[in-house]
Amino acid sequence: MDGAVGAQPLLELTGATVRFGADAALDDVSFRMYPGEVHSLMGENGAGKSTLIKAITGVLPLDAGTLTLDGRAVRFTTPQEAQRAGISTVYQEVELLPNLSVAENILLGREPRSRGVISQRLMRERARQILADLGLDLDPASTLGTHPVAVQQLVAIARAISTDVRVLVLDEPTSSLDLDEVAELFRIIRELRARGVAILFVSHFLDQVYEICDRVTVLRDGALVGEYLTPQLLRIDLVHKMLGREASDFKTRQRGRVEEPDAPVFLSARDVGAAPGIRGADVDLGEGEVVGVAGLLGSGRTELARALTGISRLDTGIIRIEGEPVNLDSPRRAISLGVVYSSENRRSEGILGELSVLDNITLAVQAHRGVLRRMRPARQRELAQSWVEALGIRPPDLDRPAGTLSGGNQQKVMLARLLALAPRVLVLDEPTRGVDVGAKVEIQNLVGELADNGLSVVFISAELDEVLRVGDRVAILREGRIVETLASADMTVDSLLALVASPDEQEV
């Protein structure tokens, strides 16, 4: 697919610089995209990926450098101008209108008219055509919000390509999709590539980048590291280029527990059922053990976590802590028994973005103590400071609003908040989602260290290699049931993948 070499780039950015105050978010970066090619932009958070995307989609102006499209210099001041020139963007969070119909979501803004008024009939027909081109069979008159997020994402792509698209920017399009849905998305990407569209695919998932991308541009700290053909770049080299340090930082955790079947079970769940969708789940969590949870999106990963931490009510089954049956009927009760939960939705159910790092860390402790036993401010700072140092939260500024930190550091702030409660069981739901590679490794290592200090951890992740690396044992979820719990030493990513996929999809 790199037959485009030698052709003229469709889009070319030369010497691009974007400054925020004194800091250069993008410093003299050159970047090019060829027609009929999938290009990936890689880098840690803060490397300048989103700034670059914003520069080519007209959201941010260039302070220096030029942008050419088809060899002609262009300058976009609004996203609409870029769109008119054929550059469409699909954002990470689905940015559509859940209350309107699928057809309107695709065509609003250039809706077909008859006799001066919007024709719903023409609009539905046109939308059906566009969806059919993508191989999607969807009722265009149905309300968008009634469809799953993955379908909504595909509708967003349908909207993006329904114009005369030449450059399609996909910013983290797969972060909320499961394997099947990713395959579906990739089929569409390949089709667009065959039509000669230049596609910019930004993702944290290395696997996906290697599967779909022809070319990779790596950024680090706002500067260009280089442009490579994907097949010629080893994964380890790519990570090295992104991080600027050796990949041997991936510590493999000492696994002691597997060989000690007598390690006391701290929390045990038997035949746990909870709406929606968890049935007959058995979990045993030893002291100092990390149990990874692997499963597809919709297999009940989050539901399991919520059932174990008192957020969802149990319909059936029983949970014992140190052999004693407990009734976890609220998060508050669970916390007092030492069971804490970190949500996958960092923004909506975790970090209070406008409050300071200090407040975010001390919040739960204070809530747990109650209003009458207020911590002295000095004590609060001391406590927060110690966690900031212990977890390596950067920048180590207690008074900064937590929302301004990078994803990885926000995650650490959430961890600090929970750890300050001195829990016995930590249930982490997707703690590394949307986090850059470096911070991901730090969080993984941290979980290992916590477990070595006797904390029991349930570690949920969509990335199978991560689950394997972090977990002592892995519980495999399928359609709301734990189908198997195996020692991770006995598995490879491939064998785990086979277990996670349902039997009739084991064509891998």
């Binding site: 996203p79 609409q80 769109q83 954002y91 940015e95 559509l96 209108l97 859940p98 209350n99 309107l100 119909s101 309107e104 609003l108 803004g109 809706e111 008024v117 919007i118 191989g135 999607l136 069979d137 969807l138 009722d139 008159a141 149905s142 309300t143 919000g145 009634t146 469809h147 799953p148 997020v149 379908v151 909207r159 394997l179 099947d180 990713v182 395959a183 579906e184 990739f186 089929r187 390949r190 696997d207 996906q208 599967e211 929606p276 996929a501 999809e505 064509e507 891998v508």
Partner: protein, 340 residues
């Protein structure tokens, strides 16, 4: 990763007609519920009053008595669909009413007085819209400021009631287009026309769809290249304009302008819109629903006065209905979210 050949798409087509319908029109359910409530109310009153209630006279009067409220509710529907609120309309109605009466009494012709009323209402709407859109003021606060401003202006115009003897206004007041025992008044026609125009604008123009889009997700609407700023301001201007039009209808109905008119009427309008199935969170609802809401509201009022009960019962019943509807809407919204 998984293999690359996927041919069929897993998007499930709705299997039954019911599912297709729900997929398309779930937002209509609260409005249907309002229709059912209306039918139950009418039938109940008919049974209770032994056939004296559902008469051509009563039903015709229902529209006449509530024409001003219907006009306000139409304007309010625009604002609520953008997830805003307009508390000023009751006062705007009083201000424009007394303004028009004063202009007419001081000898201005109708073609000056009526446009002045409409422009006055629209101007207050514009002020609120600009505050909301460009100064980022909460709609609640911005329209509260509009409420006090309009009420104050009404008292500036006159402290007491002004009778209107102008022939054109008398015509509005007294004309009855009859068909058997049924009749329509010019104000009723104006109100129904307002509904029709609003329904047309909301469903068949880009402006109308943008109103819905803003209520769905303002940020998305902006990224989709829709003109969010202008549309949002325009929604408040429309609401203010409807306030002016309601001022005209009320002046014609009562034969006078009075600066204390319409205290709390904005809340009646909001109640009617909500009972008619429009979500206060915006983006879902129909202007025809607001028509139903106003009719429910008016029917309750009529029933109470027929039964000779205390007027306070009116408020208790409307309050209870409102509560019921908001709960029903919550359930519908949370169910449709769970389906995703």
């Amino acid at each position: 990763m998984s293999t690359t050949t996927t041919e069929a798409v897993r998007v499930e087509r709705p299997t039954s007609r019911v599912e297709t319908f729900l997929g398309r029109h779930a937002a209509m359910i609260p409005t249907f519920a309002a229709v059912i409530i209306l039918i139950v109310l009418l039938a109940g009153a008919e049974a209770f009053l032994r056939g004296d209630f559902i008469t051509a006279r009563n039903l015709s009067a229902l529209l006449l008595d509530n024409a001003y409220l219907l006009i306000l509710a139409v304007g309010m529907t625009f604002v609520i669909l953008t997830a805003g609120i307009d508390l000023s309309v009751g006062s705007v109605m009083a201000f424009t009413g007394i303004l028009g009466a004063q202009l007419l009494v001081s000898g201005q012709p109708v073609w000056v007085a009526v446009p002045a009323m409409l422009a006055g209402g629209a101007a207050i709407g514009l002020l609120i819209g600009v505050l909301v859109q460009y100064f980022n003021v909460q709609p609640f606060i911005a329209s509260l400021a509009g409420l006090f401003l309009a009420r104050g202006l009404a008292f500036v115009v006159s402290l007491s009631s002004i009778r209107v003897e102008e022939p054109a206004v008398l015509w509005l007041q007294q004309t009855r287009f009859r068909l058997g025992d049924w009749y329509l008044t010019p104000t009723g026609i104006i109100a129904l026309l307002t509904v029709a125009v609003a329904a047309f604008v909301l469903h068949l123009t880009r402006f109308g769809r943008t109103v819905y889009a803003i209520g769905g997700n303002e940020q998305s609407a902006r990224l989709m290249g829709l003109d969010v700023a202008r549309t949002k301001v325009a929604a408040y201007v429309i609401s203010g304009f409807c306030g002016g039009l309601a001022g005209l209808a009320l002046t014609a109905y009562s034969g006078a302008g009075y600066p204390r008119n319409g205290i709390g009427t904005e809340l009646d309008a909001i109640a009617a819109v909500v009972i008619g199935g429009t979500l206060l969170t915006g983006g879902r609802g129909y202007v025809l629903g607001s028509l139903i809401g106003v009719l429910v509201f008016g029917t309750i009022k009529t029933i109470i006065s027929f039964m000779g009960a205390e007027q306070s019962w009116m408020q208790i019943i409307v309050g209870a209905l409102l509560l019921l509807f908001i709960v029903v809407q919550r359930v519908i919204v949370s169910r449709s979210e769970r389906r995703r």
